[in-house]
């Protein structure tokens, strides 16, 4: 506390100066620095201007001396007398070594202090998973919703847990004054508390190839209550798409595809191709048809009835999926199966027609 107080004391004159139009705008942006939209950014900006004024002072002093000497002592004729001056002066040299040392110690100290603050995330932070890959960002929220834009609430600490699928990327949000490399095979964390609703640029800052400069996204800072509404709307992963499309999305997001193929390839679990509507041989139990109820049971209680030839290794999704979402997965499975009712030629059907058919089927199911 006392340390940040010291920084405040040292930089408070600067904060006062930054009210001048050239130096400061209401949104926290200045001539040198962009708009400020996170709490930690202020400390960075104050340090930036602390260093800036030190540099400007000493640079002006040195350059003024250089120019004055070059003019004042300009050679007027060859062979002119040159006054002898000492070629060294220990006290002077000690002074001009000590002053820079004190200044850089101060800069180091404040830089380290602000850095520690920005690298220690609070334990109650809202976590968003970030994946970087050539050349896009994807953000996964705690409820499983995925987006290519980063939505965050104002006034609440947010931690980004980041990894890369290919080469090194770097998460850079200038308005928050944060940056951290996104490294394949590692999880890197960065945190911030946004405090200014609006939209800000988010860049990839580590060179990653052809579309490196296109790996740009946007951070959207919502008012805290707006964010809750937004996430609740999007918490429903199905959103406004058709159940079959939503089911496909869930299939990809939840990792179903790791075990259940959709093209007939053998896997840890039965392939979804032409699975729906067939009769299944069940281990140690009577045969049954793979209908809506069997799929639902397999999702919520996977070991209840295991198809012959497979091991009981699937985790339960009880509590993770809502009924509506299971319905969507069933709808998706129907589009993959020739045995699904009312849709004998799903494989051959054109995409759009198939979707319409599926929706109708689902409506029928709902009526039952």
């Amino acid at each position: 506390m006392s340390l940040s107080g010291m920084l405040g004391m040292l930089t408070s004159p600067l904060s006062a100066v930054s009210g001048i139009p050239f130096l400061g705008r209401a949104d926290g942006g200045t001539f040198w620095l962009p708009v400020r939209a996170a709490e930690g950014a202020k400390a960075v900006d104050e340090l930036f201007y602390f260093i800036f004024w030190i540099c400007l002072f000493f640079f002006t002093l040195l350059m003024a001396l250089m120019v004055i000497f070059a003019i004042r002592y300009r050679r007027r004729e060859e062979g002119e007398e040159v006054e002898k001056t000492p070629s060294h002066n220990l006290p002077l040299e000690i002074v001009w070594t000590t002053i820079p040392i004190l200044l850089v110690v101060a800069i180091f100290f404040f830089g380290f202090q602000a850095y520690l603050d920005m690298s220690t995330p609070p334990t109650d932070a809202y976590e968003i998973q970030v994946t970087g890959q050539k050349w896009k960002w994807s953000f996964t929220y705690p409820n499983g919703y995925m987006d290519e834009l980063l939505h965050v609430p104002a006034g609440r600490p947010v931690t980004l847990v980041m990894t890369s699928e290919d080469v090194i990327h770097s998460m850079s949000i200038p308005a928050f004054r944060i940056k951290n490399d996104v490294v394949p095979g590692r999880y890197r964390k960065v945190w911030f508390t946004a405090n200014r609703p609006g939209a800000y640029d988010l860049y990839c800052a580590e060179y990653c190839g052809t579309q490196h400069s296109g790996m740009i996204s946007t951070v959207i800072v919502h008012e805290a209550e707006d964010f809750d509404v937004w996430i609740a709307d999007h918490g429903d992963i199905l959103g406004s798409v058709s159940p079959a499309e939503g089911g496909e999305r869930l299939y990809n997001l939840l990792g179903c595809k790791q075990c259940h193929s959709t093209d007939g390839a053998p896997g840890v679990g039965p392939t979804f191709l032409d699975l729906y509507g067939t009769m299944r041989k069940i281990r140690d139990q009577a045969d049954c048809e793979c209908d809506e109820d069997y799929v639902r049971e397999s999702v919520l209680d996977p070991t209840a009835r295991i198809s012959q030839g497979f091991e009981p290794v699937m985790p339960t999704f009880k509590g993770r999926l809502k009924d509506k979402e299971i319905t969507a997965i069933i709808a998706y499975m129907k589009t993959l199966s020739v045995h699904a009712p009312d849709e004998p030629a799903a494989d051959e059907a054109a995409g759009e027609a198939a979707e319409t058919d599926t929706t109708e089927t689902d409506a029928g199911d709902g009526g039952e």
């Binding site: 620095l33 000497f69 002066n89 850089v104 180091f108 850095y115 080469v167 850079s172 490294v183 800052a205």
Partner: protein, 555 residues
């Protein structure tokens, strides 16, 4: 004021190292350090031209948003090659191998370097390395950035292995030069020249040589590991193969940070010489400057981690590297103070080399001070990998090293080629280059601190004006360079003959004729304090400086 007023134009040019023999073999297989230096000079200038053209291509592409003259893949290759050519083929060998080779034995009053054959081998390796690098360009280029960060560099399908092989070979060339200079300075100082009687240029070259010998092998091994991973699929850096990409960064910067001092230390040496000579003043704080060169060389090995503040080092390591980084700023600041104090009550002549030296202090001052923003952890996180870093780096490398190289080139040009250049054009082009440079890179400081990431092919609207200004500045700089090339070529052909000592230096290299004879000195030069200007006096008859006959011969 100008030395051209009374040019000495003897009817017959006395025999010198340039005209004592002729033919391709007499140059390419020479053991004469001066000829090797001149060949190095021609080679690095050719590379500077290639790198410079690439710089102009980059700035032209960025003139407008979206595609201007090339595709994003081509752009990525051009900025990679601009960096690789400028660093490995121009700046690193620039001052030590070209100018240093020429002046180091002369400054010692010696006939040659200690190991002339090793010197020639160094040049031959440079040629081979350069050809291998050019081959990678001809085959289609490389798109990794000059830093070759893994796993991008180990997975891209461009010619990374060939370019890194070229850099690997160039590393040996650099080590050979460094080794040679260390041995030469230790063994060949003349009687009467102790360590603290040497010109500061030699201290700078000595410190540079230490870094070259100790750091370059690490780069060699790193690049070899990269090639091994690419060619044989052994997982060293790529996590997909079980490697660690951050390890690569440690290896790379363990060399490449000290390499920055390979580039800047000899530049500081040149400035120490020029400021003193053109102010006709003993250099202020000789020992402080000499020690600061060694201090910079020593500290340079301990700061590599400051390139990796955002790459996932622990907070403790970041703290240590930040603190050590600031320690390097002190010796650099001390040098600046010493140079400016040297000018105090001097008799200052503003010839082209001095104009460059003053420009150096202006640009290096900005380059050094902006380093404070990057050494400080919290501000570095914001500025890392933005144009702020690009601008800082160019202020130090171009504003520092290239400007000092130009200063040195103009300073020793009369000694190297025995001819003067157009003084007026020299000063004007120095100013044009400096102005163009500032336009180019101040714009980049502003973009960078506002968040514009580096190595971007395209940019958002906000940065359009600044990019446009920056590109315009680069064209101004190009005009300055074409002027320099023009009057230097003219000087070679028809410049007035140079005096043996046109600037009034008291150092040994000016005690022989311009250009020097094959074995440098007809008689052993008289060793004395290189900064004692009472020992040289202006001689109006010959238009240059002559030695004052010493009353008491040194023992």
């Amino acid at each position: 004021m100008s030395t051209n007023d009374t040019p000495m134009t003897p009817a017959v040019v006395p025999e010198n190292y340039l005209n004592c023999s002729s033919g391709f073999r007499s140059w390419f297989f020479t053991l004469d350090h001066k000829r090797i230096g001149v060949m190095y000079l021609a080679s690095i200038l050719a590379m500077f031209l290639i790198g410079g053209i690439m710089a102009l291509m980059i700035r032209t592409e960025l003139l407008t948003q979206g595609q201007t003259i090339m595709s994003s893949d081509d752009y990525n290759k051009v900025f990679t090659l601009h960096g690789a050519v400028m660093i490995f083929l121009f700046i690193i060998p620039g001052i030590p191998a070209a100018l240093g080779n020429f002046v180091l034995p002369l400054m010692l009053g010696a006939k040659d370097v200690a190991l002339p054959r090793l010197n020639l081998a160094s040049y031959h390796l440079y040629v081979v390395g350069a050809l291998v690098c050019v081959l990678s360009i001809v085959l289609g280029g490389v798109d990794t950035g000059w830093t070759f960060y893994a796993p991008y560099s180990t997975t891209t399908n461009t010619h990374v292995s060939i370019l890194t092989l070229g850099a690997f070979i160039l590393g040996f060339s650099s080590v050979f030069t460094g080794l040679n200079f260390i041995v030469t300075i230790h063994r060949m100082r003349p009687a009467g020249m102790g360590w603290f009687d040497m010109p500061l240029m030699l201290w700078a070259l000595y410190a540079t040589a230490i870094i070259q010998v100790l750091a370059t092998p690490v780069l060699g091994i790193t690049l070899l590991l990269l090639i091994v991973e690419r060619v044989m699929g052994i997982g060293i850096f790529d996590p997909a193969l079980g490697g660690d990409p951050v390890l690569y960064q440690h290896f790379f910067w363990f060399y490449s940070h000290p390499a920055v001092y390979i580039m800047i230390l000899p530049a500081m040496g040149i400035i120490s010489e020029i400021i003193s000579v053109f102010s006709r003043k003993h250099i202020f704080g000789y020992r402080a400057i000499a020690y600061s060169s060694i201090a910079i060389a020593a500290f340079s090995f301990l700061v590599w981690g400051h390139h990796m503040f955002t790459s996932g080092q622990s907070e403790l390591m970041n703290m240590i590297f930040s603190a050590l980084t600031f320690s390097v700023s002190i010796p650099s600041a001390v040098k600046m103070f010493n140079w400016i104090t040297t000018m105090y009550k001097g008799s200052i002549r503003l010839d082209t080399p001095m104009i460059y030296a003053l420009c150096f202090m202006f640009l290096f001052g900005i380059g050094g001070l902006t380093g404070l923003f990057l050494g400080s952890l919290a501000t570095d996180v914001h500025l890392h990998d933005t144009y702020f870093v690009v601008a800082h780096f160019h202020y130090v490398m171009f504003g520092g090293t290239v400007i000092a190289f130009l200063a040195g080139l103009h300073y020793w040009w009369p000694k190297m080629f025995g001819r003067m250049y157009d003084e007026k054009l020299g000063r004007i082009s120095a100013i044009i280059i400096t102005v163009g440079f500032n336009i180019t890179f101040i714009a980049q400081f502003i973009m960078g601190s506002r968040g514009m990431p580096r190595r971007y092919y395209d940019y958002v609207d906000e940065f359009s004006l600044l990019h446009f200004i920056s590109s315009m500045g680069s064209y101004v700089m190009a005009i300055g360079f074409f002027m320099v090339a023009g009057y230097l070529v003219k000087s070679l052909v028809s410049g007035p003959r140079a005096h043996a000592n046109p600037w009034g230096s008291a150092a040994l290299e000016w005690q022989t004729q311009s250009p020097p004879v094959h074995f440098n000195f007809d008689d052993d030069p008289e060793v004395c304090n290189p900064y004692d200007y009472s020992r040289v006096q202006y001689d109006a008859a010959s238009g240059g400086y002559v030695r004052v006959p010493s009353e008491v011969k040194p023992a």
